[in-house]
């Protein structure tokens, strides 16, 4: 099997089959990451489609210096941020983070508490923390690589995760009080 980087190089050389293989391989990740970034299936599908559609043009900018997935995640994260920014004016995009989706998965909606908690937790986090978290949920993603995607140091990623913990604990404390 060809490596991602190899396929990307062929794509740049005009090999349509390589491009198709590359997308086939990575669409799911882009979609999943998109969902975690945006909290809605529809948004995630639109995002993944935008990314796919833009790739033929964008791939010229991939110079093979980072892993292809690192580069692809960066593209996806940037596109998601665009989306967030655009929708920020009307409504907060992920205000009901995942609720819709969890509701749809009736079997999994074991308790109302869990989903409210999730939505509540996601709402309480600023975008940059959500982004970092969403990246780290991807299988095999290390702090170092997430740092590369986001253009920050590994230390920043550690710090952000600590920050997420802190905020979640604070949230938890508030729940106990209530």
């Amino acid at each position: 099997m060809h490596s991602d980087e190899d396929l990307a190089r062929r794509t740049k050389d005009g090999d349509g089959a390589a491009f198709a293989a590359l997308l086939e391989r990575h669409y799911d990740r882009v979609f999943r990451l998109g969902f975690r970034l945006l909290g809605s299936r529809a948004e995630a599908e639109d995002l993944a489609q935008d990314v796919c559609a833009a790739l033929p043009g964008k791939i010229g900018g991939y110079r093979g210096e980072a892993r292809f997935t690192t580069w692809l995640y960066r593209v996806t994260v940037n596109a998601a941020e665009d989306r967030r920014r655009r929708s920020a004016r009307q409504t907060r995009l992920a205000a009901d983070w995942g609720l819709h989706e969890i509701d749809r998965q009736a079997g999994l909606a074991e308790d109302a508490e869990a989903r409210t908690w999730l939505a509540e937790a996601m709402r309480s986090l600023p975008d940059e923390l959500v982004t970092t978290l969403a990246l780290l949920l991807d299988e095999g993603m290390t702090h170092a690589e997430a740092g590369q995607v986001l253009g920050v140091s590994e230390g920043t990623i550690h710090w952000r995760m600590a920050e997420v913990r802190k905020r979640l604990r604070a949230l938890h404390a508030k729940e106990l009080e209530a």
Partner: protein
Amino acid sequence: MTDDPLDRLAREMTRATPEVDPAAKARALALAQKNFEARQGTGSDARPMSDRPRQGAGFWTGVRTMLSHFPTRAALVTSTGLVAVALVVTFPALRDMGPPPVVPLTSDDSEAPLVEPVVIDALPAPLPAPAPMLADRAAAVKLSAPQMELAVGAMAPDALYRPPEADTEAFANADENPVKIAAEAPVSTFSADVDTASWAVIRSSILSGMMPPKDAVRIEEMVNYFPYDLAAPEDDTPFRPTVTLTQTPWNPDTRLLRIALQGRMPPVAERPPLNLVFLIDTSGSMQDADKLPLLKQSFRLMLSELRPEDQVAIVTYAGSAGEVLAPTPAGDRATILAALDRLEAGGSTAGQEGLQQAYATAAKMQAEGEVSRVLLATDGDFNVGLSDPAALEKFIADRRDEGVYLSVLGFGRGNLDDATMQALAQNGNGQAAYIDTLMEARKVLVDQLTGALFPIADDVKVQVEFNPAAVAEYRLIGYETRALNREDFNNDRVDAGEIGAGHAVTALYEVTPVGSPAVLNDPLRYGAGDAPSGPADELAFLRLRYKAPGTDTSQLIEQPIPATVTEADTETRFAAAIAGFGQLLRGSDYVTGWGFGDAIALADGATGSDPFGYRREAVSLMRLADSLSDAN
């Protein structure tokens, strides 16, 4: 497990993440593949000619050769692969056309990361009725009328030309108009402008993933690209002004003054017979899908709008030279279409006589009471050599005085010689438009055929005198290259823009009322003389001058502009959104705290009926620009 809230969150997030919908995936992948293929067709192959892009040996290289017998001194700008077609005439009908296929944009091989948007999905449905259309520059046809002499005067020549050595795309523009103090400089004067090429350039750039160069952004051309629902003149005057004063979207403390002129649309039936000579570049680079094939498609669209008494001829240069279609009545469609089908791009760029031959053919066709126009189509490679702008102007102006007009349409993306197109257009010889899709071709060649061909008013000048009692400061948005001196307004020898049948022209001022916190300039310590004496309920006084085509004496239209602020209607809001968008693209100092998102929201809420889909396309484009601006 619940001990670490982060673990819990990760688990819940993962659980909430839905499965991929195979249908959505298939759609996305298919779209990606389509875009990929579109790029391959146009990408690196797009510039087979070695002297194309970076060298700046574009359009005018050709012109130089073509007109080489002219003594020349400096040269025109050069740019890269612009296909210029000359002609822009159209009839408002063409309603039976289904939505034309989207022609993939050519892409540049630039190194910059590209974003390929794909936004153009929905082409507008065929229009229901011929609405008055905007047209690109009205270079319009004049019949007999000796024209103004070589109108270079009005514009700063250096705004029009760049030295040929320039390696980059050349754009004509000037610094943003500054804020003026009404008490010190109450009068603002400019020439009407119905060019729209800037919009297509911007679109093309954004669609290929790059923010347009600031100098390519001419706000008046962006605003005037779009048709607006304006009241048409009821009497015999050629156009009718519509004036509104509303809140400025990007500054709560200023007002937006919109002055829109709607040209009369004479019944198409009354138009004189047309003689059209297509002068087509057939050099090798023209074979790209968005060049010669697009030109052929466009030509077919237009042909169906011509009348039996009209005549068409085709002259080619570069790849193959000569008259490939002798003057033929438009009713003889079979002959014309056959000649069109025979056109092939290929071979070297030779043939220097194209332009003269086209004009000679047009002269043969010319008869009393008819309108003749040469339509020059090229991608910027053609050898129409002309190294001296003055010589080109003179040649074309002389022909114009003999009743033959020239329009230039650019095809192909990226390599354009915008400044040269401007030079042609602004010198009164023709409309310059840039065609990148069949939809654009339809807009320019079909929807606006009438307007571009039939001038209804020449030398249209706009003068606004602001009342210092009501206005502290004002600023004209756009029209930088169209500024006139105050005294030029009443000088009939000073050239200005034409308005063609059905054209509309919009100008926007940002006006700061007296006492507004937005006033930028402090009052003078040592007094500015008498206090303003005008009635405070009058914002300004509008004066318009124009000449009926073929006359030498101008007519004057005057009307006061009341200081009453009204609610912005759809048309005003859309124009404001585009002006705001343009200023963002230019990095204007006057628009702060207001971004692409605001422009998008404003435009999105003001698309109106939008029968052609131009406004929806604009909104998509603005979204894309928003993304690009963040990515950079």
